[in-house]
């Protein structure tokens, strides 16, 4: 049972309409495609395609039809048929140049391996017209018979015309047409014959343990000695994961205060316990989780302070003032009887503010604050452990934490819940959480605060998503290594500051304090990381000092691993200066260099989105009475001393425009000829926008 198209699409490619003297021209090309659509399919399946070229007189010049046969949706193809009709001149066959079937191609596919849809065995046969030159007399020698049979013709039943064929001159109809060897005359000494199997191609697939091998040949009947080999092409098999329904046990957590680093959450245990009954007894197999997810519930939280701003967003002078200016300030509103009376006036918008909500509701939902990697070296045998710092906490507030263990697609129930009152001194303005997704991508999440002067954080606003192909350090080893030394003594990294014995550096002048280093165990087998790939043990740190053969580093992510002799210590360039391949040739303007960490990237975006969109700004059009030539977009414009007085309907309004910088976004100048013949200019229209 074959699939039939359920949806048809037509594309029309317009050619040219000009009449052409020596060719038939190409008015348009029409491609009609028939698709099989089914909700279970990711992509629609192409069933048939018709490709028609129409000449300048509106009649088809060339037509191709392709048909794919399938047994079932999503399966491999069974058969492919392609037919070509054309108006080419074929001697003896198509002398009137009508649309004629000239080539037919059939490919039959089969496979014995249902999970190898890419590696199919097939046989392809092309039947087409072949054009021969004719000898003057029918002449068929004994040797020729063998050749004729090889080239796909019958030698026995050959008629008089066929006996005149000059076998070696045979060419496919399209070869002959393209090479110009067809003589377009009815009495020319040429003939054509429909040859079955003029091209035959056969490819077999062989299954091996880990791969499929495709191997085959292609034969041309017109050139029997010329057999092409196809392949071998190898198709590696993909492995399958079979998922057992094993419950994942939740971990245990403990929380403690960590000063400037917020709250430290330590997670232990969790994972799956698999019992396999065997005849020799039950084997218990324990597997630790790959990740821990940590959640938090806020019991009570003090208001956040403007001063607690670790990322320096609200520094005065760096950014424009946080409160947007209004363009036109109503300085006065008179009463309706015409007498200017400020005391009796209506409240203007600038002096009326809504009072804050005095009692904000506590946020008592579980919120994900991040993921912690299982730091056990071998998650198959060791008890899992992880640690996470929650930096988004306010001093004097109470929080409750819990965690889950994640193993492949399964997540455990919530662990025990631990409550803590944070006693740190540094409250944080930005709530950032970083997650690792299952596909290995990282996701950062930042809540943009309101004006820091405001006491209440409302949760009203849009959520915007960005996908950025930025490089952040957690993602891989990519980075510019400036210099490398090698450990000359084993070192177990279990404290934050560590002294190492190393070989002398090639470029000691680059090993300055505060530069970033990376230590990699290239000897040991490594351990699987969060995504399940085995990666070498590796820690990052900051250089304190480097003297001869002694290196002191701090801020190391202590993993307790023993780094043997021969582990490499790399000096990493994080400044970006060495990445400028042209050495600053483009000028001395540089942007702010952000650190290559996920937190810095999320902050860089959150800060700017918040700054740009925090309050509404104005776009204004003004008319200036003089013509201003030489204006450039982007110029900063300040308007000085604009005041208006206006009276109307007993109401007196006085207004002024604030002197704030505007940005010139556009302008227009018109000059027109007056009655005396001279050009006069009415002035300039400027479009300004507020920063």
């Amino acid at each position: 049972m074959g699939l039939i198209p359920t949806r048809t699409t037509t594309h029309v490619l317009e050619g040219y309409e000009d009449q052409s003297l020596f060719t038939e021209g190409n008015l348009r090309t029409v491609v009609t495609e028939g698709w099989y659509t089914h909700p279970s399919l990711k992509d629609d399946m192409l069933i048939e395609r018709e490709h028609t070229t129409i000449n300048q007189f509106g009649t088809p010049l060339h037509q191709t039809k392709e048909e794919w046969s399938y047994d079932r949706p999503g399966g491999p193809p069974k058969q492919f048929i392609k037919r070509i009709w054309t108006k080419a001149f074929i001697p003896g066959i198509n002398t009137a140049r009508s649309l004629t079937l000239v080539q037919e191609e059939c490919t039959v596919y089969w496979t014995f391996a249902p999970y190898a849809p890419d590696a199919l065995s097939y046989r392809r046969q092309v039947d087409a017209y072949v054009i021969y030159n004719l000898k003057p007399e029918p002449h068929f020698e004994f040797d020729d018979e063998g050749k004729v049979v090889l080239r796909g013709m019958k030698a026995d039943g050959a008629n008089e015309d066929q006996k005149r064929y000059h076998i070696a001159s045979g060419k496919l109809w399209n070869e002959a047409t393209n090479q110009g060897t067809t003589v377009e005359k009815a009495d020319a000494n040429q003939g054509a014959q429909w040859v079955k199997g003029v091209i035959v191609e056969e490819v077999q697939v062989v299954e091996e343990n880990d791969r499929y091998t495709q191997w085959g040949w292609r034969k041309y009947a017109l050139r029997p000695d010329d057999i092409e080999d196809i392949g071998p092409n190898y198709f590696q098999k993909e492995s399958f994961n079979y998922r057992l329904d094993v419950p994942v046990e939740p971990p245990e957590i403990s929380v403690s205060n960590a000063g400037d680093d917020g709250v430290r959450i330590k997670i232990k245990g969790g994972g799956a316990v698999i019992k396999i009954p065997l005849t020799t007894g039950t084997v218990t197999y324990r597997r630790g989780p790959e990740l821990y997810k940590v959640f938090r519930k806020t019991i009570d939280e003090d208001d956040r302070e403007t001063t607690g701003d670790p990322h320096g967003l609200w520094l005065p002078g760096e950014a424009p003032p946080p409160v947007r200016r209004s363009v036109v300030v109503a300085t006065f509103c008179g009463s309706y009887d015409g007498t200017p009376d400020p005391d009796n006036g209506l409240p203007s918008q600038t002096n009326y503010t809504e009072p804050d909500d005095p009692d904000p509701l506590p946020d008592d939902d579980w919120r994900s604050i991040g993921t912690a990697k299982n730091e056990a070296k071998d998650i198959n045998y060791e008890t899992g452990r992880g640690v996470l710092f929650d930096r988004d906490v306010t001093a004097g507030s109470t929080y409750v934490y819990a965690a889950t263990a994640v193993l492949q697609d399964s997540e455990s129930a919530l662990s025990n819940q631990e409550s803590i009152e944070f006693d740190g001194a540094e409250p944080r303005r930005y709530r950032i959480s970083i997650r690792t997704n299952e596909d290995g991508s990282l996701e950062g999440d930042v809540i943009i605060t309101d004006d820091p002067a405001a006491a209440v954080d409302t949760d009203i606003g849009e959520t915007v998503d960005f996908e950025i192909p930025a490089y952040v350090e957690e993602l891989g080893d990519y980075g510019v290594v400036l210099d490398t030394v090698i450990l000359t003594a084993d070192a177990t990294i279990d404290v934050e500051e560590e002294t190492f014995s190393v070989t002398p550096a090639n470029m000691p002048e680059l090993w300055t304090p505060e530069s970033k280093i990376r230590i990699t165990d290239v000897i040991g087998p490594g351990a699987p990381d969060a995504t399940g790939n085995v990666a070498p043990h590796r820690v990052k740190g900051t250089l304190v000092s480097f003297s001869g053969t002694t290196l002191i580093a701090t801020e190391i992510g202590a993993d307790g691993h023993l780094y043997p002799i021969g582990s490499i210590v790399e000096l990493i360039d994080t400044s970006g200066a060495f990445r400028e391949g042209d050495g600053g040739r483009l000028g001395d303007e540089t942007g702010d260099d952000e650190e290559a960490t996920m937190e810095a990237l999320v902050l860089a975006i959150g800060k700017r989105q918040g700054q740009r969109n925090r309050d509404e700004s104005f776009s204004i059009d003004i008319e200036v009475k003089i013509p201003l030539i030489g204006l450039q977009a982007g110029a900063e414009v300040v308007i000085r001393d604009v005041e208006w007085d206006a009276w109307g309907n007993d109401l007196w309004i006085r207004s002024q425009v604030e002197e704030v910088p505007w940005i010139l976004r556009g302008w227009s100048i018109t000059v027109s000829r007056e009655a005396d013949g001279a050009f006069k200019c009415d002035g300039t229209k400027l479009t300004l926008a507020q920063r």
Partner: protein
């Protein structure tokens, strides 16, 4: 004051002075446009060529009438060619609308996929491009053009801007980047906008230097001229608030480095 301000305007068509036939001349840079526009109203429209290049000069000094070139190499907009609008004036007038030369530089080969790669020039860029495109299932054109040395966002923006024939001055945040694929259905300009969209940068084009400026909203404006306009010269003000969506929560996803 308007009639007192002398402004000498001269219009050239293919370097011939056609000012006497012009009734009014307008030049402008519309808001957010990356090109300048001009229009000339004339009654001798049969003299004007749609194939010609137009230069418009303006000057405050009658002795030096070509002091400032306000439109250089202007052309008649393709959708405005042969357009005739006639009204019942004493003489039939026609308006020719044109643009400045630079808009043609936005064109991009429709068949090319750019891959901006954080690597040095040489064979490695082909290896890297192959690695990147292996995991990519968007539209690709007929051929691939890997661009090396695109280490960070600034270099990405500069590379795309320079391919569109602009100088680029970038004052935004500079972030190390993974490879970026620019499919053939994106113009250079759209690709730049997609790259800088998260950072809410302000963009403007300075016609004289043909330079695109990218300004960080967190920094003070710098690198551009300031201008004071006395209020006595201003005749009217029309202010409209710019309404934007107000983001509260930003989610940033970084794909895995292939």
């Amino acid at each position: 004051m308007s009639s007192l301000t002398p402004l000498v305007v001269t219009v050239y068509m293919d370097q011939r002075d056609i000012t006497p036939w012009c009734r009014s001349v307008t030049w402008s840079q519309p808001d957010q446009f990356l090109e300048q526009r001009w229009s000339v109203t004339t009654h001798a429209w049969h003299l004007f060529s749609t194939q010609a290049r137009y230069d418009i000069y303006a000057s405050y000094d009658p002795a030096n009438p070509r002091d400032t070139c306000v439109i250089r190499q202007g052309y008649v907009l393709s959708d405005q060619r042969m357009r005739v609008v006639v009204d019942r004036a004493e003489q039939p007038l026609i308006t020719i609308n044109g643009g400045s030369w630079s808009s043609s530089s936005f064109r991009r080969s429709s068949n090319e996929t750019l891959v901006l790669l954080p690597c040095a020039d040489g064979d490695i860029k082909w290896d890297l491009a192959r690695r990147v495109l292996k995991n990519y299932d968007g539209p690709v054109g007929g051929y691939i053009r890997p661009m090396s040395n695109c280490w960070d966002l600034k270099r990405d923006v500069i590379t795309l801007g320079q391919r569109a024939c602009f100088s680029v001055i970038y004052h935004g945040p500079n972030i190390p980047m993974q490879p970026v694929i620019v499919p053939p259905n994106l113009s250079y300009w759209e690709a730049i906008l997609q790259l800088i969209e998260p950072y809410a940068l302000e963009v403007y084009w300075e016609a004289f230097f043909n330079t695109l400026y990218f300004i960080d909203p967190l920094s003070r404006p710098y690198g551009r001229p300031a201008m004071n306009i006395p209020g006595s010269l201003i005749q009217s003000i029309d202010a409209v608030p710019i309404h934007r969506n107000r983001p509260r929560r930003v989610i940033v996803k970084v794909p895995r480095w292939v």
